[in-house]
Symmetry: C2
Subunit: 204 residues, 2 copies
């Protein structure tokens, strides 16, 4: 099987530079706030090249999302081997992976919060192509945990989004938190993990 993965030591192709710069632009300025000319300038290519590799601005956005969730899928695939673990360990494994993901690339959550606020074609595409894949199994784990008293009571969807809310917000609002409290230490992963754990599980 041929590999499409780029080598660590070859210069990134124009297509890869476009995706990378488009990701950070979309994440900070939003879809409408980003122009294809800005992306092209950051990637040091002509604006028309973006529409050669991708046929529209929407297609660029979807390619960025596919790239981001491509990394996440690698983690999710590891989860398959975990089904013999306890419910608590399975949940904490997924949560730790998500916290790591948010810490290493805040743009992922920034992009998702930009789309989750309003019904749109991009949101329905995102749900059907990526989000549901993570939501359904995690929601199932939460409900199993609730039946044994391990996980606190409450709507599973609320608990799921509370996990996402904490991990995502803490790492993606670093600009606001730094301006408000320059010396804060809010982005410590273990601290965030303990906070989520004490919120989700009973008696700890």
């Amino acid at each position: 099987m041929r590999t499409m993965t780029k080598s660590k030591h070859t210069a990134p192709s124009a297509r890869e530079r476009i995706l990378k710069t488009a990701k950070s632009r979309f994440a900070t300025a939003g879809f409408d706030g980003t122009s294809t000319r800005q992306i092209a300038e950051d990637a040091d290519v002509a604006q028309s090249l973006l529409l050669y590799h991708f046929k529209s601005k929407d297609a660029i956005w979807r390619a960025v999302m596919d790239m981001l969730f491509g990394f996440a899928d690698q983690i999710a695939d590891d989860d398959i081997a975990l089904s013999e673990l306890s419910i608590e360990d399975q949940l904490m494994f997924g949560i730790r992976a998500f916290v790591d993901l948010c810490a290493e690339d805040p743009d992922l959550h920034r992009l998702m919060t930009l789309e989750g606020r309003t019904q749109s074609d991009r949101l329905t595409w995102l749900i059907e192509n990526h989000l549901r894949r993570y939501f359904e199994p995690t929601r199932s784990l939460i409900m199993q945990g609730q039946q044994t008293g391990l996980v606190r009571q409450g709507d599973p969807t609320m608990l799921y989004y509370s996990i996402i809310a904490i991990a995502g917000t803490i790492f993606s609002f670093e600009p606001e938190m730094t301006l408000l409290d320059p010396g804060n230490k809010a982005q410590d992963r273990e601290q965030v993990l303990n906070l989520i754990r004490s919120m989700l599980f009973n008696d700890r």
Copy 2:
């Protein structure tokens, strides 16, 4: 002193209609995603009227924020009379007010999340004119609570933003949650309050 408060039974003025429609447009599509012509169409006025009442699109955005935090300030003023309550009651009073605010108008948190992700003139304006007023006293309460063992350990800024993250996300991501799980009951205020309480305080 003259009152600027509109009567309940008079038709809203054009200026009020502009602010109201601008708020929902900004909250869902973002600053760049919203055009003054869209706002004008929703408010049923000419586009040039927006720039008669406010001198620029930025000024419209700031007026929307002043309006939103004007409502919040009414609650904050009540807080002054609460200084004789316990730390826990003071914290829970503020948290309950914030949860109510997020539940009644998800646009407030939607607008704040659109600005908190990137350093910008709008973010610095927002912090100095509104956000710091709520952040500093609440952070102080959290630290006092930590000294007596009432509040769990951890960076106070992290805890502050975790409260905002849960309350804000649960109510402003209703579109995404409904698409993922149409029958969810995530937006129950008491449920959200209990979740935040068990995360913030020790031993409950």
